[in-house]
Symmetry: D3
Subunit: 163 residues, 6 copies
């Protein structure tokens, strides 16, 4: 992590909130090996879980509901981090907005923690991947090649932070 200044991580990789200091943005670093060190993904995961719970606070016409299980996971590629969120509920309505909100907030959190190193990041394609258990039947996004990932989660969405 020699030439990168992740100002939200201390030298041991622990999250901190710091006063902004002059800094030199460097080259592309999203999803590099450095990011795996430290708390970046743990912080983004927490942010996503909390966002799922507060979705109806932020999305005006979204119904309040009691979120059940929330999982936020990451896949780290050479120049991207893919974010996947699964949300379950026993409530009467779907939870795709909760999953989308979790995913978007986790991605924004990654962006926030890495922006001092790379301001050219893009938060790409956010979409519903799979929805089960609702009144309108199972929804599964059409993919070239098939539906390898037919899990039993309620609503799953994915997002990508690219650089």
């Amino acid at each position: 992590m020699s030439d990168l200044s992740f100002t939200h991580l201390d030298p041991l990789g622990r999250a901190r909130m710091v006063d902004v200091t002059p800094k030199e943005p460097t080259h592309r670093a999203v999803a590099n090996r450095e990011v795996k060190k430290g708390d970046v993904l743990a912080v983004a995961r927490v942010a996503g879980i909390q966002a799922a719970k507060r979705t109806s606070d932020l999305i005006p016409l979204c119904h309040p509901l009691l979120v059940g299980a929330v999982h936020v996971n990451f896949e780290i590629g050479d120049d991207f981090i893919a974010v996947e969120a699964n949300v379950d509920t026993v409530d009467r309505t779907g939870v795709e907005m909760e999953a989308l909100h979790a995913c978007a907030t986790a991605a924004l959190t990654i962006y926030d923690m890495c922006k001092s190193a790379d301001r050219g990041m893009v938060i790409g394609e956010l979409a519903l991947w799979e929805k089960t258990g609702g009144r309108s039947g199972v929804y599964r996004r059409d993919m070239s090649g098939g539906d390898a990932n037919a899990s039993d989660v309620s609503d799953t969405v994915t997002n990508v932070v690219e650089s």
Copy 2:
């Protein structure tokens, strides 16, 4: 609006929060003429403005600051709505996270209000477009063709809801 059921709009196009009822998702409708009717974009604009103010509540390591002016605007294409957010502040730190959060929340709000008509929507490319007035100088995203849109706003981001 005959064959579309925007359950978040009443027959006069006014926003409402409704109990979820059985409905038939139909074909692509994002950004069609129907969406311009009613409150959809007004609701999304409010959601974006409020999200800008609450950014540090949702993004864990983001500093609290007092947001100044916030503008959220839309460009409606044949099969997309582009969302642009500008945020100003007199504070010591940048406001790109506030602009990104406003943009993402406005796009999620559009998605929420249109999802009963089209579940295949994608929230695409969210990126910082321009940043001025910070310590690290002016940032302007590199574009094929030039920088037509050299405004004097602080931080501008764009987002797209496609279908």
Copy 3:
């Protein structure tokens, strides 16, 4: 809208949050034709719906519950705007506080957006109009003339912004 400066609306009537600039308050403008243009009522409607969802956050001894449908409507008179909120729930408790909170917040939002044009506005009579489905039976406010408006909503309240 020549002689009025609604600083929360841009020239096309879209909501924006602006830095406060010197301005000349003019004459009475609440509920004039100008107010119907633009986003004022749409913003107030969103504010009311969101307030209904957050009632137990603001009113200390109010129980949390999952709000179902929320409708906020307006009647525009010559020198007033009447605000009516209906809230439904499937929960075990009543929702009159949610309806009252929605109504008060929508009225305050109108006040906020119009105060640059008229600082003499008054937010008048806020009262429960009708309550159905609770354990204590149907409540209907005693009115001179009769109960024309015996709808089947749960809790309905009204409020008035006068000038």
Copy 4:
């Protein structure tokens, strides 16, 4: 307090949040001697102070600012409680929305705590009483008889809960 059931107060007059139980609404009780006992006004005062701090969260186009001093006071009449809120700030913008929001929320809190005894209460006239220190000069509501109460607070508003 024999024939009144203030379900939000325990027998010693301490606030509590209780499960809703069957109850018999009785006659008018707002602002009677009973209400002075116990925590009602203390709870309403806290609710008003907290609401002042969260105004920009609830009123969509209201700017965030750092509230300074907040005072919420009550005058108890035979069949009404008058609520007065004063808010100070060192910020660049006015704080009348914060004072109005404090007042409305304190009144709603009184309503909530007394509604089991009297469902016919009305929350009346909410208006700006006095505003000082802003760019647009001193504002003082025109009153029949004079300006007895020319205090030096920034923004003062009043509200009334009548029964």
Copy 5:
């Protein structure tokens, strides 16, 4: 209250939020007779009740649930105030986090209101006292001497502010 400056209480013992002014911290005052005067405990009780409702907002992996009854009570000793919180729910999960959060927030509120008089206060032992009705059976903290206080509340916790 001659030699103590409780800056959060006015001369009549009513809560207020005040601008910070130079002040002389004096000697130990927590839980003295002065504290009983005025709104201190009423404000702390409200803070605890509201905290119970917002627990899942603050504790990241805590599930949202609909809190039922909440009681926060105090025992005032010579140099301490003991805080006890009971929380009920009809939800499927336990509410000990809600009770702990209520207790901690009530204690912090007492600290905040008394810190101008005594900066050496300590918030001591916060622990679960009793838990009933959950799947894991009744839990009761082992005490020297027996279980005098076998109430039927769900979850009870205690906390102490010492000086």
Copy 6:
């Protein structure tokens, strides 16, 4: 981690929010080696930082201010975890309430994540350790043995989760 069921961690030690399932509480596990694995401390750190920012939302008479840097650190002993929070600000008031709130919330978060393994945990002594830069001069808690830890942070508090 064989005989312990940290239900908030998946087998790889990543945080998740899960539906509550029947579980057997076992023996003391706070601060054991297992806890160091996984996200427990990272989640608690995020919770503490976010709580610092939202202090005035939870503590009724606490002034809103713009928190600067926040650090939350842990010391892991044989049967305890000590929590230390430092908060800086450029604002005019002290930030000890923000530091205390961060510390308490981080400790409650640890409790929440470990309570399935040990319900007998106690959250102990929460106190102000050091305060600098305020109007009332430097405060440093009197300790047996000296002031080894005379750092230059503004407000530092400590807390302990014992088992």
